[in-house]
Amino acid sequence: AQSVAQPEDQVNVAEGNPLTVKCTYSVSGNPYLFWYVQYPNRGLQFLLKYITGDNLVKGSYGFEAEFNKSQTSFHLKKPSALVSDSALYFCAVRDAGSSNTGKLIFGQGTTLQVKP
């Protein structure tokens, strides 16, 4: 069965500092991994995804994520946080070895708080 874990409910970081939002996954086959961001009272916006190839994936708003197969992780990172990055972040996974129903499994979400 597919699953995603985001071990931190909240991450606090000062503006200008680097940020990391953690994500680990479990799938039976090869994973397709995604990060989404949700601002208050808004929908989910796609940030980036890992399908294959380079383990470091770059996405929107200066975010990047590193796929680590041995640690089954896909942590989201940004070199310098902005106050406007404060939001709820979701990691999600699809199992490439599944029946390809397209079902995306989400982690429980991590609230990122960037303080000035």
Binding site: G43, L44, F46, L88, G102, Q108
Partner: protein, 115 residues
């Protein structure tokens, strides 16, 4: 210009009522979804349609009935609303159900409150 649009954005209704949420996508995608976000912000898929054909039904009560008149629209009808149905419902779409690397794009959500 909105890619995935859903209406209404906010809906307050009484228990026992029937309500519908409409969704339209202008991305030319073949696959559409309904996700539910509960009060703890947890997201779970409810339904998925591919070219108007139901492909995922995640043990949702049969009070919830999706309808896809064409591949650009996926509406959600809910009968006999219960307090526990209060949630945010997100419509989404993607190019195809497979390959699974296709990105899913979400609408802005519909906030349903049952009183």
């Amino acid at each position: 210009d909105t890619a995935v649009s859903q209406t209404p954005k906010y809906l307050v209704t009484q228990m026992g009522n029937d309500k519908s949420i409409k969704c339209e996508q202008n991305l030319g995608h073949d696959t559409m979804y309904w996700y539910k976000q509960d009060s703890k912000k947890f997201l779970k898929i409810m339904f998925s349609y591919n070219n108007k054909e139901l492909i995922i039904n995640e043990t949702v009560p049969n009070r919830f009935s999706p309808k896809s008149p064409d591949k650009a629209h996926l509406n959600l009808h809910i009968n006999s609303l219960e307090l526990g149905d209060s949630a945010v419902y997100f419509c989404a779409s993607s190019r195809r159900q497979a390959p699974s690397g296709n990105t899913i794009y979400f609408g802005e959500g519909s906030w349903l409150t049952v009183v």
